[in-house]
Amino acid sequence: MELSIDADLVRRGRACAAAVVAPIRTFINRHSTVSVERSVLRLLGVDGVDAEGVPLANRLVEGALPDLNRGIAWCMGGAIAETGLAPAAIAEAVATGGLELGRFRDVPAAASRAALDSTVQRSMDRIDRNARERVDRLGRLPQEPPPLLYVIVASGNIYEDRTAAVAAAEAGAQIIAVIRSTAQSLLDFVPYGATTEGFGGTYATQENFRIMREALDDVSDKLGRYVMLTNYASGLCMPEIATMAALERLDMLLNDSMYGILFRDINMKRTFVDQHFSRLLNARSGIIINTGEDNYLTTADAVDQAPAVLASQLINEAFAHAAGMRDEQIGLGDAYEIDPDLEDGFLLQIAQAQLARQVFPNSPLKYMPPTKHMTGDIFKGHLMDAMFNLTSVMTNQTIHLCGMLTEAIHTPFLHDRALAIENARYVMGTARHFGDEIAFKPGGKIERRAQFVLAEAVALLERVTARGLMESIEGKVFADVARSPNGGRGFDGVFEKAADYWNPFADALVGTVSAR
């Protein structure tokens, strides 16, 4: 089933999105952030926390502040060249007060570069090895066909999460996402070690990533199909999470170019710079991003917001392309959030989902279940989830977040997840090729709705192009939220690069982009 949509209009929308992103790229190229610099340290092998629990990466970046505009790599390279210590040992020495990074600001550039060469190479090799290993495992342990069933675990305790994740995989889940503790997106550091306390989710830490990866690898071997692991590269530590995900072979990351700005009041400049470095890493590590367009629909009327969803998808795609991501890595978001009391709401959902499928034919679309109109009525909720499942299989969505009948009640119980997966498997099995067997009525309600949404989205993008993206966000164009370019959380962590700024990983990653 194909909608008749105007291909020229789609091209215009895509061109607009590229034009929207181009001036932001110029800004990004001239700036870095504390979290990008901390990522550089993490990639160099700096891990752990000091006696007060502050991550060493944060400690070092704070310690280097006056020279940070040249990039933390100079200081580290200089320190290694002079002391002969490894990055981790230097971090320890700085944390205990035995070493001042500022001492090494005058080490010659060539010596500093040479000192980091092998460490940079080792990290890049680890990332590449992980990317290859994913391909190998997927070859050996093939996934069932999409929509890939994605479920969330969120107990707050990584060990409980592990139990829930393995159980969900055994029940048929193909992707496990570990939801983060609600406050984590606003923390300007990444917590450390295995964690057992969290609210509404479990902290994203490198050790938690490792624990979950190991458990899912084991269950993948047992089931003979690869189970993917997802976390969140959003908030103030977006690049660091992307780093940890690359190092621990996560398969997907929630990663949106504007979500933090609009919905978490994170500074836009910080977000734009951070998302770019994150996506450079994601491109190299073969990670699939999931964008957050569902948020437009949960915070406002889903029928009204449909054009904003498509416009945001196109902007997210343009930012991802700018960082060298392939279409196959760009999981654009949408959600089944139209009011169930609206007559023909199902038709509008199909129009939106099929429109995204046709506009982004090679992208693994991420489809989110009803949440906003879920109540304590689990029976109706289960039914709404079934309609969502039908829409997903009909319109060939790729990443399918299974709706829980207990959404809006509690974080899922073991059997909530099992029931959700059974629901999806039943509906998707019984209607597997339904979409191939039917055609849309030309000029009918669904087709007209899709054409309307496309036209409105392109008109919206044209307005944003004319006005500028930062100015548009300031002018409340997206999600009815106004954010100023220098307002919001994390702005003080954005800085202009000096003429001799150096980030060896950005160089290596950009190299792969241009090679591609």
Binding site: G156, E170, D301
Partner: protein, 243 residues
């Protein structure tokens, strides 16, 4: 006295449906374990209608059974804060006539909770289910502080801005975080000596008016609450009109 029991298809049959998971692999013995568990709860005619493995080492059951206990509904009184709502114009008129100034309202989703869906439904202009939010009322000056607002911040804002009514929202309830945050807010307002000066309201999908009273709040609003219900409660309180 009006004793009632659950109703299946006949008065006082006590019919109930239950579903749960046991951390054991499925077998016929697992079904029997489920049956015995429910019987131990005091149910009779226990029938395990579905039992199956949902993961290695976990089995899920659907059970029908009859309860022998009843409850006297005549002894139960739960005052709702949300009854007899006025519409927006009536609220505006009531406040205009009886209060003579705008009532200043601050709302926030407190603690680490990032879910603004509840507080936004009540405060934002657009409102919820076609019922306008408090920002649209002429009777109110509204400050929506948003999500992840610490209790300290909300109390500081309340003191600094002559707030008349404080609305605290909690959606995440994991490990009792909602109760802890609500309690912290009410205690801090008390400690800062402003509790008596403000109307203190809480809201969220798990909130009931009864819970609110236990936590020292003036009222609590649960799932499905409309903005006009909250508006009416506030307007009546400030105009000394019976709820």
């Amino acid at each position: 006295m009006n004793l009632v029991k659950p109703y299946g298809d006949a008065r006082d049959d006590g019919a109930m449906q239950l579903s749960f998971t046991l951390p054991i692999p499925w077998s016929e013995a697992a079904d029997e374990a489920a049956r015995q568990l429910v019987a131990k709860m005091g149910f009779s005619d226990v029938s395990v209608v579905d039992g199956r493995a949902i993961a290695a080492g976990y089995s899920f059951f659907v059970v029908y059974a009859r309860t022998t206990v009843a409850v006297d509904v005549d002894t139960i009184a739960v005052p709702s804060a949300a009854g007899n709502a006025l519409d927006m114009d009536a609220v505006d008129a009531l406040v205009h006539e009886r209060v003579g100034r705008k009532i200043r309202i601050a709302g926030a989703c407190i603690g680490t909770d990032a879910h603004t869906v509840g507080i936004d439904a009540i405060l934002n202009m657009k409102g919820y289910k076609g019922d306008y939010g408090l920002e649209r009322y002429r009777a109110f000056e509204t400050f929506n502080l948003g999500s992840q607002i610490s209790v300290d911040e909300l109390v500081r804002f309340t003191k600094a801005n002559d707030i008349d009514a404080v609305l605290a929202s909690q959606v995440v309830t994991q490990k009792g975080s909602d109760i802890a945050n609500f309690t912290a807010l009410s205690e801090l307002l008390e400690a800062e000596g402003v509790r008596d000066r403000v109307l203190l309201l809480c809201g969220g999908p798990r909130v009931t008016n009864l819970l609110a009273a236990e936590l020292g709040y003036d009222a609590g609003f649960g799932r499905g609450t409309l903005p006009s219900e909250v508006a009416t409660f506030i307007a009546r309180r400030f105009s000394d009109t019976p709820q």
